[in-house]
């Protein structure tokens, strides 16, 4: 008799995941995503090597896509950081989109109210009010969670929808409506973001926040309390950590960071400098969800999210050449982003489990 021995596989729980393992897992997931998408490209008769070459040469060409790549990348970085802070305390902030809209409303309200203010005063004011609006919106979900134990995922998700319509009410035929149909009035020149090295200065603000958050979460007393709560609410309770206070606080911090991205997005890109039509600002709002994936993949390490966010920005910007330059079917660029996010999600499995081969006796 001949037996064919198939390897017997066993799933094992990962107790402690090291940073190196996390990096390996994300690189592997990217490789898999590129391989899968190569299949789609070949199905459309394109050469994968050529297509990927086009994507990255466009995205990183200073004459072409680079500034947009960085602008979108840092926009996603804001969202990622806004996700990381609550997640460190074990809370899922799915509301970066809504907090970004609120930040937009706050910043634009200031710009329209005081168009003649000196930029050195107006711009910080727009940023502060934008951050506070986002913070309040985040804190609302934090309060419901911390005080009344209402699930924050549901609340933030629903608040996103409300915020979308708030912007809609203000722009489409509302008090902020511009001459062109369904966009807002343009921002006054005094509100435009100063450009440093071809990118808005707020990009450096995002990097600064990432570094500060890293130090804050790792070395501050409050950051420690946040991490304890995130690892075990039961332990936090046993050592006297006030979970309600921290829950509201982290949601407010997250909301504030997402709120800042409102100014960064519209005042930082010369192509906008206003709130565009609803489907366009919704498309930008949808980018905030990359923050969830990036935050999880980087194991909530805010420094690691900087290059990762820029990388995702490059794919978002670069993949548009598939349609524009290679004349491939419309939507293939979105498909690429979809494939990447799905493989990332699938590879999260390896953050929790290992597959082991067991020897037969």
């Amino acid at each position: 008799m001949v037996y064919i021995q198939l390897p017997k596989l066993k799933r094992e729980r990962v107790v402690v995941l090291t940073g190196r393992e996390a990096v390996t897992i994300s690189i592997l997931s990217l490789v898999v995503a590129f391989i899968i998408f190569s299949g789609f490209l070949m199905l459309e008769g394109a050469s994968p090597i050529e297509a990927y070459g086009h994507i990255f040469t466009f995205a990183f060409n200073p004459e072409l896509g680079l500034s947009t790549t960085l602008h979108r990348g840092f926009f996603i970085l804001f969202s990622t950081l806004a996700f990381i802070v609550p997640m460190s305390a074990g809370l899922w902030n799915i509301g970066m989109e809504g907090q970004f809209y609120l930040g937009t409303i706050g910043a634009f309200a200031i710009a329209y109210s005081f168009p003649n203010l000196h930029p050195a005063l107006l711009i910080p004011l727009m940023l502060i009010v934008g951050a506070l609006s986002g913070a309040g919106y985040g804190a609302l979900a934090g309060f419901l969670r911390g005080k009344l134990n209402v699930n924050e995922v549901v609340v933030t998700l629903m608040l996103n929808n409300i915020a979308f319509w708030l912007v809609y009410l203000l722009t489409v035929g509302g008090p902020w409506a511009g001459i062109a149909e369904s966009t807002s009035r343009p921002l006054p020149a005094s509100a435009h973001a100063p450009i440093v090295w071809n990118i808005p200065f707020t990009s450096f603000l995002a990097i600064g926040i990432a570094v500060i958050l890293y130090i804050f979460l790792k070395y501050s007393v409050l950051g420690y309390q946040i991490r304890v709560l995130g690892n075990s609410p039961v332990v936090a309770k046993h050592i006297g950590i006030n979970a309600t206070k921290i829950t509201i606080l982290v949601m407010a911090i997250g909301g504030a960071i997402a709120g800042l991205s409102g100014y960064h997005m519209w005042a930082g890109d010369p192509a906008f400098r206003l709130i565009p039509r609803p489907e366009a600002y919704k498309a930008i709002g949808d980018l905030t969800y990359w923050g969830i994936l990036i935050g999880l993949i980087c194991l909530l390490n805010s420094i690691a999210t900087i290059p990762f966010s820029v990388f995702i920005g490059s794919i978002i910007v670069g993949s548009t050449v598939l349609v524009r330059r290679l004349r491939l079917p419309f939507g293939l660029d979105v498909l690429f982003l979809g494939v990447i996010s799905l493989t990332f999600v699938a590879f999260q499995f390896f953050h929790h489990y290992r597959i082991k081969r067991i020897r037969r006796g």
Binding site: V221, Y224, G240, G361
Partner: protein
């Protein structure tokens, strides 16, 4: 099979794990029909590995297993079961919502697709009569006590035709009364020629009472084989640990000082919203250990949490050194010098994903001495952690090791190293030695006595009656949320307290 004939033989079993760990090193022993052959060993001695090999979960790297003189190889537990080896797990593998009968016949090859309940009931009934087991076959498993659930597991194995029963820590969760009936069922099984192999870490006296022969494992090797009647408790403990063990810790003579804690008529709900603690009053003084003996689920957990500040009482008041602390927070109580050792370690007392330093930090993070303008002074914290990790003998490669890699005994030492140095007045120790081996248990108990010696008050809560009696100055058996009585150390005889905590005796002693 005639009693006394060898039915299971294990020769030269060796098992290595990745990383060069030799869990078992040429282990051999034999088990005869109708005998109780206890395997003793501390945590990490290789007991679990041996058990898993005997039950076919793991395969040995070297060595042979013989059942009825025939060499066998188990590829899975199914092979072992088919050869008449049954297993009674420490963590029950029963379905709580199903009846006893349903649990017993579950997974039996005879059961098949269509269940013949009537026939199965008759068979199980006959089995019960044969061994003298008394159990209601229609009771739901969740309604049963720990001892009855164990009986269901035994019955399930016997129903499958087991002739050799492996028992994992059989007496660890039983009350004194249940232990008696368990010992009786062991005897009746032995009479019918069933060989039982209890694996034991913690509770030596029971093993002593039931076994015929004992094999002691230490670090994967058989260090001693002996007949039970030749053995003494002290000698056995020494074989297990590899050094002399002080069985009766010297209770230090300490002057009992002023009152530290006074609990007046405190009531509390449990997590399900049911009244679990029904008006308990007592006080603890400096240098006094107040022990609460009870079977889990009688309100002692809620009491400990109320005093630690983790649970709001629905009635009554708590005074700490004369001050009403009924409504103060956990943090304030910690700052006052009240320390709490929770009954569970990972996820309650320790964060596995944190380094040892960050775990020690849980006891001092709020202390301004260890931070500067809101930022942690890690240099000071590391020095502090280093000092107490070595003082409390936590064995770990470094202070940056993640706590998840530590064994149970080391985790408890880590919790003690966090709690005790910051506790100056009152220590609440809730099941501090549950699941620990002899050496770790001894270490924890001597730490508790050291707290007493320093003049702290200690509230000791434990299901282990011996522990409560050995350490406490006063003992309160708790039953259904009330103290049956508060007894002095002299009054607290094992039989009396045991009966009280089982609800069999009211306060009139």
């Amino acid at each position: 099979m005639k009693n006394g004939t060898p039915i299971l033989e294990v020769r030269g079993i060796t098992k290595r794990f990745p990383g060069g760990v030799v869990a078992l090193d040429h282990v051999d022993f034999e088990v005869r029909a109708g005998e109780v052959h206890a395997i003793l060993g501390e945590n990490g001695a290789g007991k679990t590995t041996l058990m898993n090999i005997l039950f076919g979960v793991l395969q040995p790297d070297e060595g042979e297993i013989y059942v009825y003189g025939k060499r066998v190889k188990f590829r899975s537990p199914l092979d072992a079961m088919n050869l008449g080896i049954g297993m009674v797990h420490q963590i029950r593998k029963l379905i709580p919502a199903h009846t006893v009968l349903e649990n017993i016949i579950l997974g039996h090859p005879k059961t098949g697709t269509i269940i013949n309940m009537k026939k199965a009931r008759e068979e199980v009934k006959a089995l019960c009569e044969r061994y003298g087991f008394k159990i209601d076959l229609d009771a739901r498993v969740w309604q049963l006590s720990a001892g009855e659930q164990q009986l269901v597991e035994i019955l399930r194995a016997l129903y499958r035709g087991a002739k050799i029963l492996i028992l994992d820590e059989p007496t660890s969760v039983l009350t004194p009364l249940e232990i008696d009936s368990f010992l009786n069922s062991m005897k009746s099984m032995a009479k019918e020629g069933i060989a039982t192999i209890p694996f034991v870490t913690h509770k030596l006296p029971e093993v002593f009472a039931i076994s015929d022969r004992i094999t002691v494992l230490r670090r994967g090797k058989v260090v001693k084989r002996l007949e039970t009647r030749e053995a003494t408790m002290k000698a056995l403990a020494e074989y297990m640990v590899g050094r002399e063990v002080l069985f009766t810790l010297e209770k230090p003579k300490v002057k009992i000082g002023e009152e530290i804690l006074r609990v007046e008529n405190v009531s509390a709900l449990n997590d399900k919203g049911v009244l679990a603690l029904k008006g308990v009053s007592f006080s603890i003084r400096e240098g006094e250990i107040f022990g609460i003996a009870g079977v889990a689920g009688n309100g002692q957990q809620e009491l400990a949490e109320v005093i630690a500040g983790l649970r709001k009482p629905i009635g009554g008041r708590i005074f700490f050194k004369g001050r009403d602390i009924t409504n103060t927070s956990v943090l304030e109580r910690m700052k006052m010098g009240i320390g709490y050792i929770p009954p569970e370690r990972l996820g309650v007392g320790v964060i596995g994903n944190f380094s040892l330093v960050d775990n020690i930090l849980m006891g001092i993070y709020f202390d301004p001495e260890f931070s500067n303008k809101g930022f942690l002074n890690y240099k000071k914290i590391r020095d502090y952690a280093k000092k107490y990790i070595s003082e409390f003998e936590v064995v770990a490669p470094s202070i940056d090791t993640k706590a998840a890699h530590l064994s149970g005994g080391n985790l408890q030492r880590l919790i003690l190293a966090r709690v005790i140095p910051r506790t100056s007045k009152l220590l609440i120790a809730n099941s501090p030695t549950v699941g620990l081996d002899i050496a770790a248990t001894e270490a924890v108990r001597s730490r508790i006595l050291a707290c007493k010696e320093k003049g702290m008050g200690v509230l000791l809560i434990s299901e282990d009656l011996d522990e409560v009696l050995q350490l406490s100055d006063r003992v309160a058996p708790i039953y259904e949320g009330r103290f049956v009585k508060i007894l002095s150390a002299e009054e607290a005889k094992k039989e009396v307290v045991g009966a009280m905590m089982a609800g069999a005796l009211s306060g009139g002693v």
